[in-house]
Amino acid sequence: MSSASNVVTIEGNEAAARVAYKVSEVIAIYPITPSSGMGEMADEWAANDLPNIWGTVPLVAEMQSEGGAAGAVHGSLQTGALTTTFTASQGLLLMLPNMFKIAGELTSAVFHVSARSVSAQALSIFGDHSDVMAARSTGWGLLASASIQEIHDLALIATAATLEARIPFIHFFDGFRSSHEVMKINEIDDETIRGMIDNEMVRAHKARALSPDNPVMRGTAQNPDVFFQARETVNPYYAACPGIVQNAMDRFSELTGRSYHLFDYVGPEDADRVIVIMASGAETVEETVHYLNETADEKVGVLKVRLFRPFSMEHFTAALPSTVKKISVLDRTKEPGSLGEPLYQDIVTAIVQGFSTGIVPFSEMPVITGGRYGLSSKEFTPAMVKSIFDEMTNDTPKNNFTVGIHDDLSGSSLEWDHSFSTEPDDVFRGLFYGLGADGTVGANKNSIKIIGEETDNFAQGYFVYDSKKAGSTTVSHLRFGKNPIHSTYLIDKANFIAIHQEQFFEKFEPLAKAVPGAILLINTTKPIDQVWDSLPRTTQEQVIEKGIDVWAIDAYEVAKANKMGARINTIMQTCFFAISGILPREEAIQKIKNTIKKTYGLKGEAVVEQNYAAVDNTLVNLHQVEVGDTVTSTLERKPIVPDHAPEFVKNVTAEIIAGRGDDLPTSLLPADGTYPLSTTRWEKRNIAMEVPVWDTEVCIQCNKCVMLCPHATIRAKVYDPKHLEGAPETFKSTPVTGRGFPEGWLYTLQVAVEDCTGCGVCVDICPAKNKAEPKLKAVNMEPQQPIREAEAANWEHFLGIDDYDRTALKTHLVKESQLLEPLFEFSGACAGCGETPYVKLLTQLFGDRTIIANATGCSSIWGGNLPTTPYAANKQGRGPAWSNSLFEDNAEFGFGMRLANDKQNEYAKELVSRLEAEIGQELADEILNADQSDETGIDAQRKRIAKVKEILAGSASSTATQLLTVADYLVKRSIWIVGGDGWAYDIGYGGLDHVLASGRNVNVLVLDTEVYSNTGGQASKATPRGAVAKFAAAGKPLPKKDLGMISMTYGNIYVAQVAMGANDTQCLKAFLEADAYPGPALIIAYSHCIAHGVDMTTGMTHQKAAVNSGHWPLYRYDPILREQDKNPFQLDSKAPSIPFEEYAYKETRFKVLTKTKPERAKMLLKEAQEDVDRKWESYEKLAGVVAKKEED
């Protein structure tokens, strides 16, 4: 590594963004995982006035979708600015139409793409090439980077080349594996960038710009006479492009010493087998090639494809050794139905064409096979590479193979030897298991920076997260060594393992991946002399067998003493340096302190001091554990799910929960992406340290806690005392209060302690206080561990109690509505989530007859991410049917569902009429004229349908068969279109507007968190003025869009704005009215969010401040009222009683601006108050309040 260069330890996204920013004048952005980080950084740099290489700050603009970003890029390019964007997956697909135009107009541009799976049977945020391969036909160049250094370098090479070639480029690298891998690299300085960017070419780009001073037409419509020829005019540019790219690479090499070619071959000159591959997998193949050639006397090589398009046969054939007999081409994508994947097809074409024209160096036509690997970031390891090389030794090697999975359906997969490893002994390989909340990843990122930037070591970090937002587990994979690291795969053989949470021992065997002589570091609350005995049997066995050194610390105790709560990051990081020996102890501690200052300095001295103190207090609390000679433990891990779980859950879900999903064969997975409901109930996550405990004496049975619980873990039942039979001793009940319930019946409030997240919302909102000790309420938080077993048994008993008869409940009352069974439970949302209570309520009220169209976003992740999903069926087997189409099309998706239901309902009615004779006139009339406006009516209709089915069961008539197929559509169905504000206000707004205007009976629930929550809090048009968000780092300068008011202008749309924490009754009314309204209905639901920087425990009570300040007025606009000569607009909240500031400055998103830009904060606060005042005034007018006041 050059000493003159600036060494930085950064992730792939930053490596790309740093260059892209420096060579751009305009950047259009839109968030999408895993590329969001690039846009975020560009926005932050612009907010901090960082100039590009021409000394001016690029203009960074967030758009409403990737389609919008591409349009803005196109316009900007056409008008002469050097312009870029960042995207991935579906985002790139939305850009395709513009990309055809940009390339067709020979426009210089580079898009930086962190390549990601395109949704098929499921969405996946992880990496493969299915997105960039879908862009092959656009005419854009495709340049692939394999490592973080390459991302940095090729980002510049692509920009230099596009300016000369006039072919736009997709510069891509693997999502997550490269975009999120942290690696020590040489940073390119501005001087080098200027050396690469030819200002003459920049001027030429600008000279082609549309200008009224030199007007031209571009983008005409052409006819059959000339379109074809005109399309062929670009050929010379494509022919010249590869040479231009290579020239740029050569120029780059002269400036930096880092050399690249369109196709880089690594291996012996006389190799007989070669793998052709692009992007990060090439690094692993290279590592394996070196290992096999050195240790196994093989002659294998790898050809790394950098410039995939335009494909240069000349450069490709020149790069291959003439001795090659077999070639295996690996694609990280799947094209179902094709003869092979794209890279394979191009390589085959190139060799066949080359062979026929004699320009290839081979005497014989080599055998060429193609295979798929690494879809959606599936692991791709040296063992798999070896299995491919081994397969190539066969006379007829398998073609169209897969590697990395077990395909027992089609037999495509190659087997591999899991024990094979190429990892050199001199590389430190550490695995750190932590929780998201404990800061493990952040600490490890700091460790990489320390080791990468302050020692000669090369450093690499990669981080694996689970798909839950609360209580999620993280695994950090850290490598350090004296030589460059090419291992683009997870650590499977670790010489250091840290367990930052002792409960992990209950879930998996962490030492399975330990090498002999490894070090194990444990954070445990056990006294040091009890640590050994506290380990499970299998762990003790591994420790003894592998001679593992065990160290332990009670990091929570140290954190507590230093007021750091659950964040044990600094403490565990200090332990790591203290026992790993990577750096001398004292030096390491000083460096940790320096990093603390850098990391936390901005947040103030208090946090810095706390961390310093934690470092100082760590070493005295770190002890080596005395390891026994024999296994003493009898602790065994419990089965992942109980034996009575459904087969699918046992065979598939449990395996995924256990972390063995990689081993599931194709035959066990649904082919069409269809999964059963009710699976979260089997995943007893036990993530809460404290859980609510019910006090029967204090409780007033209001059921508010049941309604506002975001996780459906606290539930109420009213029941016949006979259900107490067989109840566990600790099962609590009390006589039910309130009118209408049968005399002598009981009430129980039960907590699912193993599913609870411990968010504390229930305690916060509980209105009942213990009169003798007012700090206690009807529910109070207590440690979970001591009551876990008893309460788990109580929960089981509770579930067995009959639910109260739905038809007998007054569901417009909060108390009674909360006796309805939730068909949404234990989601993976953040603890204290503001969105999930609304969805839970929806399922309680209508879940047994609902279909949900769910926009991509938080709600599709906590609602639909494997391994377990929260939507559930009731005892009758009914429940919400749920699907996610895309981010942008959710309204239309739900609309289609409505059309299908309406049509089939209509058809079923026609059939009932036709079959009146068989069914009986009375029953037919009842069915056709059924009043299904309440639970009783729906229940009656269900019974009628059952009767019809019974009558027609034996009928041979085709009409009867037809009716039996569609009879269920005769029961009223509620179609709910659910999504966040990013969807409703921005990317999906056009479709939403159209669907709302259609008049069809759809219900739209907008979970308005006022940011793109799922991708990390980027500003949307729902973000209020003055709030800081990503893409609005300086505070959003414009007000929130009033989606409700816009929708009300149609006059026939039911619109409600609700905030459950502020007014649960109004919220309940709105849901019931929306469902009852026979046309389109829109509910905009205030959803506090972790991205607001609020205390999630008090999020619900904080909603009152949102309403009381006038930021979030509550209202319902019901067109039905107009028919009754009433004002359809009902304002349900009172005039603002507190200033906007009082609400806003309880939230970090507003407050932080007073620290970063106090003057701007003051200005925006004033304007935000004016927004509130203006809005309230217009609402009052709409409600007739003003007129009424004047009358009075």
Partner: protein, 328 residues
């Protein structure tokens, strides 16, 4: 009329000084107060505890949920500039100093020795003409003795005094067993002024919610009697300047305090209620009264009714109940 007064070495044109409050939190308001005749300004207190709390709280909230979920590894932008510290307060000092010509006194409530000293120095560097140490300890622990509390006051002052040359006032509460002794001790430790007295938030109980709620009730005129008494007692017993705080509503209150021995009077509540321009009314009334009574200067009346000067010094020592009895 010569209303000049000297307060901890600062030569002021009159004894009317707006006290630490929201009044002086805004530069424009500071200018209005100067225009209305304020002789100096005491800026609102910088609370070290608040900075520490904000630092901890913002850090906690910005870190919450981070590095947990692959699509949202953070929820806020990366800020490149430091923002949790006394910077905004220091900037306020700078701006007020630029905006007004009268002396500006910065007020500080620290919680660590380092905090008192460091922040005081930073305030002086930012342009403060003097520092008012707003010291407040509620000794709720049964093991904490009055002696220990007094020592804390004393050491904070000593440490701060050692670190800077600008004058230092100490604002105290009335709850000392031996207040005169405490004042003497602060005087000996180098206090340039003592401000009598601090006004604290007092807890109240909300009967609906069964919660305790801290509350600050605006001072009434009657609230100045404690200050009046102790200023009168201390005048002549210690060398430090004396500032009267609490319940200064009218020119008559000002006159009484000056006669009792105050060098300045700090007004807050009355200005918050009546607006900044009310200060000029008080000033005019003060001048008119003195002219009517044919005083030549403020100095002439300063301390004329302090305990040492009055005919019946015991009047300041008696409890009100006794006085009432005697009156009867």
């Amino acid at each position: 009329m010569d209303l000049k007064t000297s307060y901890m070495g600062l030569n002021l044109s009159n004894p009317l000084v707006p006290g630490a409050s929201p009044l002086t939190a805004d530069v424009e308001s500071c200018k209005q107060l100067e225009d209305a005749g304020a002789a100096a300004l005491v800026l609102p207190s910088l609370f070290q505890e608040q900075i520490m709390h904000e630092s901890e709280e913002l850090s906690r909230r910005m870190l919450e949920g981070t590095e947990s979920f692959p699509e949202a590894l953070t929820y806020f932008p990366n800020f490149e500039e430091g923002f949790i510290g006394p910077e905004s307060y220091l900037e306020h000092i700078r701006k007020v100093k630029e905006a007004v010509d009268i002396p500006v006194i910065a007020s500080l409530n620290g919680i660590t020795t380092g905090g008192w000293v460091d922040y005081s120095q930073l305030m002086v560097q930012a342009g403060a003409d003097a520092i008012e140490l707003n010291i407040y300890f509620l000794a709720t622990g049964t093991e904490m003795t009055s002696g220990a509390i007094e020592t804390i006051y004393s050491s904070i002052l000593q440490e701060t005094k050692l670190a800077m040359k600008k004058p230092i006032a100490v604002k105290i509460g009335p709850y000392f067993s031996a207040l005169a002794n405490m004042a003497k001790r602060l005087d000996d430790d180098g206090a340039d002024a003592i401000v009598l007295f601090n006004r604290f938030y007092q807890p109240d109980i909300d009967l609906e919610t069964l919660e305790v709620k801290p509350d600050l009730v605006m001072s009434t005129q009657y609230a100045n009697r404690t200050s009046l008494r102790w200023i009168a007692i201390l005048r002549g017993q210690i060398g430090a300047s004396l500032a009267a705080s609490q319940g200064i509503h009218t020119h008559e209150d000002v006159l009484k305090m000056i006669m009792a021995g105050a060098d300045i009077t700090q007004m807050t509540g009355s200005l918050l209620t009546n607006g900044n321009s009310y200060l000029s009314t008080v000033l005019e009334n003060l001048t008119r009264w003195m002219e009517e009574k044919e005083y030549e200067s403020l100095e002439q009346m300063k301390g004329c009714l302090c305990m040492k000067s009055v005919a019946d010094p015991a009047a300041f020592e008696r409890a009100n109940y006794m006085k009432t009895l005697y009156s009867w």
